[in-house]
Symmetry: C2
Subunit: 225 residues, 2 copies
DNA sequence: CGGATTTTGAGAACGCGTTCACAAACTCTT
DNA sequence: AAGAGTTTGTGAACGCGTTCTCAAAATCCG
């Protein structure tokens, strides 16, 4: 969920971009791509903010954390800014990920079109169910849990996705860490404990809907009140 | 993403729970369920916070927004607190949702086990592809986009899920709003514009991984520095 | 060239959320 | 019954993130 890693750092002049900003950089990148596709070479913070769906002042403050890549009175060069953000968030290289659990969700993720264009490559699939091991999903052969460490080492994978039921999540997380994974995206409806050097983000499908349901209930209550 | 709806309200003594708290209530509910399964009848804020993975002070502050459901020197009655939170977030009733787009992701969501136990029921599936219309997925027949309004009205659905490619998202959102949907969970990698009375939350699978990749890159940079 | 216009970058104010810290309220023990 | 021990609920302090605002820097145009 929340991630620490926020020291000002020794080396570079001014490192340590706020978490909130990091989370929006991919959004800006997508907005810049959209502008580039429209053949737009330069844009103001207003234009880009509108495309990204954020406040222009927030956008400028976010970008100021990376450096001064704009020109006063002119705006930002779309291609140049795109390059700089991509560099900052490591999008000029591909990131291999391993998905653990190839049930419905894991299978869907392995086929997800949106990854490849964002520098994410599903490099390996792993499952504990012997019946699934050896089958091919989205062109990738499913490996056994026992081979996780080997697969991760061979392909130098550092990011793992947990797409198992909640009960298996902690066990899988332990195995991932043991295999050398240092970043985990957890789709299972369960908390996982990991060492300090491992980052975990959690996506909980039910909770998102429950939050919407809460607001729905309030709307309904208002209507009758 | 963020949702407004935060007036103190006229009727009740003290309405308007902070967004951040609302987002955690489902987590507490899950933690309480876990405790109940272990046969634990009473717990302190420390116990529950540990189970939920949050700071105990934060937990108490969150719960204080609902009312005074604990007993000093004793703690919280698991069953009672569970009931109160469920009541607050509308979990003692089932919420019907419609999923638009039954590609890989939509299919996976329609089969997702985690929904039913959290009061979410996938009541209808809709797709624009004629080849998919009429097929049955997870026991539900796929309807045509043209029937969306009818389906939503018949089943009194107020929550919709967009599980289409990004290009189709805005069009689908418009149709959902037109059909009477007032809450949308958007999985498509695109912003959607909706009227003020409609809540939208966004889950972006790529962005979550891109954030992890950013931190991975920083770890790698540190190692060489 | 100089004034009007545009737009960035950043200081300052503000607001929300988290955490601290402690009085109040309860139980338990003797 | 009274003192020791727990644990809640909340006021207060703090920190992060957002937004406002405006000087600085660039362009445009007469």
């Amino acid at each position: 969920m929340t991630i620490l890693r926020n020291r000002p750092s020794a080396g570079s002049p001014e490192r340590g971009i706020p978490d909130a900003t990091v989370a929006r950089l991919p959004v800006y990148l997508r907005a810049l791509n959209a502008l580039a596709e429209q053949g737009i070479a330069t844009c103001s913070s207003n234009d880009l903010a509108a495309q990204a769906g954020v406040n222009p002042a927030k956008l400028r403050k976010d970008l100021s954390h990376l450096g001064s890549y704009g020109t006063r009175g002119v705006g930002y060069d779309v291609e140049y800014l795109r390059y700089q953000i991509a560099l900052e968030i490591g999008q000029n290289q591909d990131w291999d990920v391993v998905i653990v659990g190839v049930g419905n969700l894991g299978s869907a993720l392995s086929a997800y079109q949106g990854f490849s264009t964002r520098g994410i490559r599903v490099a390996a699939l792993v499952d504990s169910n012997p019946e699934r091991v050896g089958t091919t999903i989205s062109g990738i052969e499913v490996s056994a849990m026992g081979d996780l460490k080997k697969v991760v080492a061979e392909r130098e994978i550092s990011i793992g996705i947990i797409a198992t039921p909640g009960e298996a999540a902690q066990e899988v997380a332990d195995r991932l860490v043991e295999a050398g994974i240092t970043s985990i995206l957890n789709f299972a409806p369960a908390l996982v404990q990991v060492p300090d050097n491992v980052d975990v983000r959690k996506v909980d499908l039910s909770i998102e809907l429950q939050i919407l349901a809460y607001h729905e209930q309030r709307k309904a209550g208002e209507a009758t009140a």
